[in-house]
Symmetry: C2
Subunit: 329 residues, 2 copies
């Protein structure tokens, strides 16, 4: 019998198929079908939701609470919206330590303060031991999109430049290293961060900012494929321009992984009009969450997603199909 | 060590303590602290969220999908808001049958149509076998509150009347009977229903409708206590006026349960200005979800929640403290 596999939650093409086959078929409407990080509603409102099931719940550089706040702040920000209000819904396993719940809530409170957003409504469910793995959190968020801002996954045009706001793959590698099966004493920290202020900074460039997307599940590679598919364009990135921390690169070599498939939780990909690309990078570099921003490629009309290697050859970029690492967020 | 118990999710006083001790302390703000079913935001928006963990996921009269849509529609409606947009986030166990996921989505689609609301954004997570019990769904919802409507848990005034929109306890008993441990061949169906049209009907009475609340976890009893506490009033209900199906009453007698503690998913409690109470019941009775509506009590200034028995004596109503039945919604 056909059943759900871990790959269906991996952020790659199998998840896209599931979304189309079940959710779009049953719920489909113009707003949902747009498949943006956040829905654009009447009255310039943006609306988004995410559930967080990360394992372990505490890891170097963050925890499920900070992730739950930043994930939703970032999904709103990727539509150019200013995040205003958030909901939080907790599903907690019987026997979960109250002290850990308090630590998670305190971490959320800190992230809320940083992102200047408030939680206005919530829900608490407790289920029997064994019915959930410790704690899952859902957040939904509402933001407002300023007049004249039109950021969409569909807006990339040939000739535009592709920017990443900083080092690639930190979150995915930090969580992977925190799992028991990787018993290294690494110093790789998750990059979880609220990106609303970084987005606000670059929105000074107005309509020259075409696409914003945070490369979470499926990593930078999946995000580039989504941009290519939804905008009907091609993308070429330059391998030697990709900012990656040496520790992440080294671990990828050891484990045989591609950092372009690793999840990020404090980075964004921006597609920017060619003339404004350097200015966008300059603006990002002034923000602490954009220090290592770089132009990493450009949009073309090939319909393909390719990577130009350091040797000058170009090849099709691998697209993640399924689970690289379940429960990365 | 202090840890989370099932009672913390039961909708009673222990859950209120958890919410205050952890969530309000860490996240507190004026909107959240109001503790309404839905938050009222600037621009007359209402916003709410709920996660659904009901067990079993299919039961007589409904399923987790219909519950997930109606639960959020109803929370918006209890603020007098017209539900407009919904998010849905699925957490699915590896190995879950695709056919069951499709049945759940189809059931949601039907409820969405009935409530005239659309899902505009979503999220899908898949976790390893054993990390979640089959499937949990979160929905969040946005609605708009018409000018001049002010429905709040704080608005009950001595002299007002208390109305319930129909039979009490159907959902709780239907789910209980569907559990393996109760191996009866009952014909008790869950009452899950979207109540936005019923609310629209009675809002014809304008400001005379003071409080609306759907008595889910903790049942009618918990809702009456919340009204008494948040409005600073007392409530007396009349035992002989309470509408309860004979099957539910009979099973309560057998199992030693109080139907006032059983969850409802298609009923509302309304506190209405005395002069408009009969008219409100009349309006409800014209709606298929209000056929058995009845005045069941009145608001006083005693600060107590009491029940007047058929023998004419009055006693303090039992307030549920913890888990009557985990995972009822």
């Amino acid at each position: 019998m056909d059943c759900i596999k871990l790959a269906h939650g991996g952020g790659g093409s199998k998840m896209q198929n599931l979304i189309n086959d079940i959710f779009v078929r049953n719920f489909g409407n113009e707003i949902l079908n747009a498949m943006e990080d956040a829905a654009k509603l009447s009255g310039n409102l943006a609306f988004t939701t995410d559930s967080f099931t990360v394992k372990p719940i505490f890891f170097p550089g963050g925890d499920i609470g900070r992730l739950a706040v930043c994930g939703t702040v970032n999904d709103l920000s990727m539509r150019g919206a200013k995040p205003l209000y958030m909901s939080s819904a907790f599903i907690i396993e019987e026997g979960f330590p109250m002290e850990e719940l308090d630590r998670i809530a305190a971490s959320m409170a800190e992230a809320l303060k940083e992102a200047n957003i408030i939680i206005v409504t919530g829900d608490t469910k407790v289920v029997e031991k064994g019915s959930v793995d410790k704690i899952f959190i859902n957040t939904a968020g509402i933001g407002v999109i300023a007049d004249g801002i039109d950021i969409s996954i569909k807006n990339a045009k040939p000739g535009d430049m592709v920017i990443v706001s900083g080092n690639i793959g930190d979150h995915g590698m930090a969580v992977m290293m925190a799992r028991e099966e990787f018993d290294f004493k690494g110093k790789i920290l998750s990059d979880i961060a609220p990106l609303n202020n970084l987005v606000k900074d670059i929105l000074a460039l107005g309509g020259d900012i075409r696409v914003l997307r945070d490369p979470t599940r499926g990593g930078v590679s999946e995000t580039l494929y989504e941009i290519a598919n939804m905008s009907g364009v091609g993308v070429e990135i330059y391998e030697e321009k990709l900012p990656v921390a040496s520790g992440v690169k080294g671990m990828c070599d050891i484990l045989g992984l591609d950092y372009l498939h690793l999840a990020n939780e404090g980075k964004l990909i921006a597609v920017v009009k060619r003339e404004s690309a350097d200015k966008a990078v300059e603006l990002m570099k002034k923000n602490k969450y954009g220090e290592n921003a770089a132009v990493i490629g450009e949009i073309n009309d090939s319909g393909l997603v390719t990577i130009k290697t350091a040797y000058g050859t170009s090849r099709i970029l691998d697209r993640p199909s399924g689970e690289l690492l379940p429960r990365i967020c």
